[in-house]
Symmetry: C2
DNA sequence: CGCGTTTACGCCTCACGTAAACATC
DNA sequence: GATGTTTACGTGAGGCGTAAACGCG
């Protein structure tokens, strides 16, 4: 029995499938399979039931799982406690972010990360918050920076920054001085993000507070397109505040008064609570310092 | 960092020297040295100071030691908890016993052990209790069955049996019916075991209770020789009760009345408290069932 | 036929032991 | 020189990935 075998077992048991787990432990699928087989012979117990379409934990596997985790966590703590200096990170890191992050702080962050950790292969994965969260839970991502806190108890999160959004529309849609209220949405559709995005929750909360019953929506998963559609006068929507203000000074967008003002959208680093790799703790700190939604827009 | 490296480190740190530790982990001296070197580079810390004649723990090594032990213990517990059946023991086992054990229950025990655990290489080491205890503490022995409980806090023990001894002497030394008292020792020397033997403590306690001030002694570390000397009328001494009775029925020894009677000498399995190998727990049970000082004498 | 896991096979690292060297007392 | 640890070196096991095979929906 080795720590590597236990590690392979743990992630195989808690990821969506062996392939995802193999990526996480930097192993080929076949090697992962063999390590688990080795562990099984070493313990004299079958840990996975391979009868069905997918490998599923046996009773012995379920018994082993928490023990394996605590042993791995202890080993990690030992390693961290002994290390003379924060180690340089290495291996693959799948990093989930929303599109807004991808367009603001992410590029600079990836660059800085590459300088500090040349051996770390970061793979940014841009997607909608809800999807990223599921991928995180299933092992497809190592960390994700998404809006809000997770409802999933296996996922831990740490707030890092708040993004500000404002309502906006083209002047021909909302003449200067017009207040935004429920009546506006009778005449104009809402240009918004797809379900599962953090901003969608933000908008829904606002609409509910305003008792706006039903809204026509134009959903788009690309902020660039959303901004373009708003400028073109297709409807009313929200944009990150710095972007909206830039367009407003050019006279291409109007920022109507809205009460209550849109709440800030809190972003948090998310990670699997059972992931004790030093990678996680280190990234958490690095991300916290880097997130800045006012940064350059690409 | 691997469990094997930590194991090598732990025993290297707590045994008398690397050579002893190497035997315990079934490794050559050079391989042990390399494993420790690997661990040092893996942790980025020097664990042993090799400047002097012997390798001595550095500050980092001292920090690591308890953590390594708890991790190894956890790994062992996991292994034991998962094992479907008590595993067959394997490897080398240095087994310390007093000479009395060597002449009574030990041979039969070694035979039985060989049947149940063919892959276990048992090496009986016969010696005086105090010496065995020191070897145990320094890693030279895995377990020892010796008289009394250990005073050393790093050594755990579990009582297994009591051996009975009786005073005896040749008829020409102590005619039948003569009581044993202090006066006898003015005329005859005490034939006893060397300092550090369990029976020596037993005798000293008795002499002190009888207020016998000073005694001439003939010490010998071989029971066979002691018995022979007693039969030859060289002095007064103690023998295991079954042996003495056998000689008494032949009329070659006399068993004088003695008040108080000699106390029984309790024997216990001893092992290093920090030794979490399954070997120890298994042997403890096996030994407890096997020890019998009334068994055949060889 | 797609998805998920295992088997087959060749490569190559690395862990091992023997033996010699080195260092300290 | 005795004791204790490391270095040098040749060997073999086994961990690795690629690619093919297998087995279930």
């Amino acid at each position: 029995m080795t720590l590597k075998q236990l590690e392979a077992f743990y992630w195989a048991a808690t990821c969506r499938n062996f392939a995802v787990a193999a990526q996480r432990v930097n192993l080929s699928l076949s090697s992962l399979s063999k390590r688990i087989a080795e562990l099984e012979t070493s313990l004299g117990q079958t840990l996975f039931d391979r009868a069905g379409h997918r490998a599923v934990l046996t009773e012995a596997g379920h018994r082993l799982l928490p023990q394996a985790h605590s042993l791995l966590a202890a080993a990690e703590a030992l390693r961290a406690g002994m290390a003379p200096a924060p180690a340089e990170l290495r291996g693959r890191c799948r990093f989930g972010v929303g599109e807004l992050s991808a367009l603001t702080w992410l590029p600079r962050f990836i660059k800085a990360l590459g300088v500090r950790h040349p051996a770390l292969a970061v793979e940014p994965v841009v997607g909608v918050g809800a999807v990223l969260e599921r991928q995180l839970a299933q092992g497809g991502l190592d960390v994700a920076v998404i809006a809000g806190r997770s409802s999933h108890c296996g996922i831990a999160s740490q707030p890092v920054a708040e993004a500000a959004f404002v309502w906006c529309a083209a002047p021909e849609v909302l003449p200067v001085g017009v207040r935004l209220d429920a009546a506006v949405f009778d005449r104009w559709p809402l240009v918004s993000q797809p379900a599962g995005a953090g901003t969608t929750r933000l908008i829904d909360d606002w609409l509910r507070a305003q008792r706006v019953p039903e809204v026509r929506r134009i959903d788009c998963n690309a902020w660039g397109a959303v901004a373009g559609m708003l400028v073109e006068g297709l409807g009313v929507g929200i944009l990150p505040e710095p972007w909206a203000r830039a367009r407003a000074t050019e006279g291409r967008l109007v920022l109507p008064a809205a009460r209550p003002a849109l709440a800030g959208l809190p972003y948090a680093v998310h990670w699997r609570r059972d992931d004790t790799r030093p990678l996680i703790a280190a990234l958490q700190a690095e991300v916290a310092a880097a997130v800045d939604f006012a940064a350059a827009r690409y």
